[in-house]
């Protein structure tokens, strides 16, 4: 098998689509990427807020934690409505059947609309109650909390659009892309485990995307810390790249090609993950001061207890995901 065989147009589902379907599929894919980036950014912001709140709780000041949570609730809202929009778009991208697709779009549209409405209402109430001294009180941005309101307006449009579209679906079918079927699960337990795993993996990828890009921007790449910085960027970006790869490459393959490519792709994925993980630990071994001194803001969740848990989770997860894929590929091959 040659390298270019993996990228032959004929291997992919869109090769069976007509022109309109291909354009619609492309638009949804781009929208997914854009809103994934929004979700990643808001996730990072929310994690910063959460880490501080957690720090207050751990340090025995739940009163400070409560006050901070109430002030920063719109940050949490911004993340969740972004995430639900990604899930909404994912339903358009991939679903069990047409009926399920439209039901999911409708339900998720309502959730997005409700969250965006709540966010706006919350800011208004907090302002009227005097908790925000003005609509541009400041922190974490100069426009906070007004920026949360403006951001929510975008999701009002998204939510309303999804609801209206799903309602009109029975009369007219403007979105004609055929469903990309979800793989059946052997039982409910496995399905729950799989879904939890996917959610966790997605969160790590969301974290990795902004974390990796932010590291490139803020890390102190001076002499003794440069090696660690490069290793961190690689390990961070590996998660979203792998997620994107399985989403936009593997799941776009025709069924017979999926079966054919599963094992070689999972081997490559595992090898790359092993390489990056080893690189990370070797780089840390060469300068154990680097994480704390050279831009530790990229690991917001790990600072409070001076512990490495968060770091290790971020580092190990791509490897675990790749190993799971490898095991599944070997089992599939063995069964055949």
């Amino acid at each position: 098998m040659k390298f270019k065989d993996f990228f032959s147009k004929e291997n992919f589902l869109p090769s069976t689509f007509d022109k309109k379907q291909r354009i619609q599929s492309l638009v949804i894919s781009i929208a997914l990427i854009v809103f994934f980036i929004f979700t990643s950014l808001t996730f990072f912001n929310m994690l910063y807020s959460f880490a501080d709140i957690l720090g207050s709780i751990v340090s025995g000041s739940p009163d400070v934690a409560g006050k901070d949570f109430l002030r920063s609730l719109p940050l949490f809202g911004s993340f969740f409505m972004s995430l639900w929009t990604v899930l909404l778009l994912q339903s358009l991208f991939k679903s069990k059947d047409e009926e399920t697709r439209m039901r999911a779009v409708f339900k998720k549209g309502i959730v997005v609309l409700s969250m965006a409405g709540f966010n706006i209402l919350y800011v208004v109430i907090m302002r009227l109650a005097g908790s925000y001294s003005s609509l541009v009180e400041g922190s974490p941005s100069c426009l906070y909390p007004l920026d949360s309101v403006l951001y929510s307006l975008l999701y009002i449009v998204m939510g309303l659009g999804a609801i209206l579209y799903a309602k009109r679906f029975k009369e007219k079918i403007p979105y004609t892309v055929p469903v990309r079927p979800v793989a059946p699960m052997p039982n409910k337990g496995i399905r729950i485990l799989y879904n939890v795993g996917v959610v966790f993996w997605t969160l790590i990828a969301l974290f990795g995307l902004t974390g990796g890009i932010m590291t490139l921007c803020i890390y102190d790449f001076r002499h003794e810390w440069a090696f660690f910085g490069i290793a961190v960027v690689l390990i961070y970006l590996l998660s979203p790249i792998l997620l994107g790869f399985w989403q936009f490459y593997f799941h776009e393959l025709k069924e017979e090609k999926k079966k054919e490519f599963f094992l070689p792709l999972s081997i490559v994925s595992t090898c790359v993950s092993v390489l990056f993980v080893v690189l990370y630990f070797v780089s840390l071994a060469t300068n154990k001061d680097a994480p704390a001194n050279a831009g530790f803001g990229m690991f917001p969740i790990t600072f409070t207890a001076t512990a490495n848990y968060g770091t290790l989770v971020v580092v190990i997860t791509p490897l675990v995901v790749s190993l799971i894929a490898l095991v599944r590929a070997i089992i599939a091959k063995f069964k055949k």
């Binding site: 990072f44 912001n45 910063y48 807020s49 880490a51 501080d52 709140i53 720090g55 207050s56 340090s59 025995g60 000041s61 400070v64 901070d68 949570f69 002030r71 920063s72 940050l75 001294s133 009180e137 400041g138 922190s139 974490p140 941005s141 100069c142 932010m214 490139l216 921007c217 803020i218 890390y219 102190d220 790449f221 001076r222 002499h223 440069a226 910085g229 490069i230 630990f281 070797v282 840390l284 071994a285 154990k288 001061d289 994480p291 704390a292 001194n293 050279a294 831009g295 530790f296 803001g297 917001p300 600072f303 207890a305 001076t306 512990a307 490495n308 848990y309 290790l312």
Partner: protein, 367 residues
């Protein structure tokens, strides 16, 4: 671009990320770490510590609190505040907005009250959505901010000395040290150790002291060293005061013990003040060196609530140590003030300032 070229350009890209600036050797550039201020009898240093601006902070209400602390301190001292020492953790999980707002605020206040302010890095100042170098640049650019960080081979960032000069004589030296953040003991370690003042920093301190052997010295840094705990464990034999309601948060393993206080004692170090643990402002005369934590400034992250009805030993001990009896609940937040009396001694006072609707709670307590 073909694949070969792309592969060849990767190492080049990596190189562009790394800094190539020339490092100076601290031991032959001791003058690069000096800043001078005019000495006068009653020169005062207001220590603000652990302000902790973060994504959840209301900078508006925090500034309102700082306004009150600065106004109270300015009213309390003779001739206005001379120097504000910001002893670390100005930020934690903050972003560029917070840094810019913070520096703007202190610049405005420096002009209003006529003080200079000196910056020390805390462990959390590195934990933000900004480059540590960018933060250092913001401090360097601020006209009233004292911040020296040469590209050197000395551990940490904010290691520098403020010489208080009377004519050509240096009367006192104020040492600012970066006590670091934390480090992993091994690449696979689950936990990280708090950092400590490293040997090369102690050697740098000794070298700087050798240039001004007649002057006394005070040091400011962020993370307490193991001396604080050793002094606490033998407190029954020592003069001590104020509150210790949690651990010091030092690098508690014997191998990470710093010689800074021990060496300093022999070199006329009269006081060493730090921050880090918010529920502690305990101060002790440790064989001739007064070491103590400053009062946490503001309400971010966590702080101690003190209830006179509390029977906890540490609260009772702390309250009993005060010369002004406090019979109402209060929070352990405010500031600390050092006033240099003459060539050899200084006064230390802790300010407890709590904002209250019916009038703020303000207590000054002398060491």
């Amino acid at each position: 671009m073909n694949k070969k070229r792309l592969l060849m350009s990767l190492p080049l890209f990596t190189l562009t990320l790394t800094s190539c600036a020339q490092q100076i050797d601290w031991s032959t550039n001791l003058g690069a770490y000096l800043y001078e201020m005019e000495y006068h009898s009653g020169f005062n240093i207001l220590q603000l510590t652990d302000i902790h601006w973060n994504v959840n902070s209301s900078t508006a209400s925090s500034k309102q609190y700082l306004d009150k602390v600065l106004a109270e301190a300015d009213k309390h001292v003779t001739g206005g505040i001379d120097l504000v020492e910001l002893t670390g953790d100005q930020f934690m999980l903050a972003n560029t907005y917070h840094v810019k707002t913070f520096v703007e605020y202190f610049e405005t206040k420096a002009v209003e009250y006529g003080f200079m302010y000196a910056i020390i890095w805390g462990n959390h100042d590195r934990h933000g959505m900004y480059s540590p170098n960018w933060l250092a640049d913001k401090y360097r650019e601020a006209p009233h901010c004292i911040y020296i960080e040469p590209e050197d081979n000395l551990y940490g960032r904010s290691n520098y000395v403020i010489n208080l000069k009377d004519g050509t004589d240096v009367k006192w030296q104020i040492y600012n040290l970066d006590s670091g953040a934390s480090f992993s003991e091994s690449p696979l370690a689950i936990g990280r150790n708090y950092d400590y003042i490293r040997d090369d920093q102690v050697n740098w301190f000794k070298a700087e002291r050798a240039l001004q052997p007649a002057a006394n010295a005070i040091a400011y840094y962020h993370i307490p060293q193991q001396d604080n705990l050793e002094a606490w464990n033998t407190r029954s034999t020592r003069t001590h005061k104020f509150f210790k309601l949690e651990g010091f948060g030092d690098a508690d393993k014997p191998e990470y013990k710093s010689d800074f206080i021990k060496e300093g004692r022999a070199l006329k170090l009269k006081g060493a003040f730090m921050g880090h643990a918010h529920n502690v402002d305990w101060t002790v005369d440790y064989d001739g060196v007064v070491i103590g934590l400053g009062v946490k400034t503001g309400t971010e992250l966590y702080f101690a609530h003190i209830d006179p009805a509390d029977t906890k030993k540490e609260v009772v001990e702390g309250l009993a140590s005060l010369s002004t009896p406090i019979d109402q609940k209060f929070d352990l937040i405010g500031a600390s003030l050092v006033t240099i009396k003459d060539d050899t001694s200084f006064d230390l006072e802790h300010l407890y300032l709590n904002e209250r609707d019916g009038g703020d709670f303000i207590v000054w307590e002398k060491w």
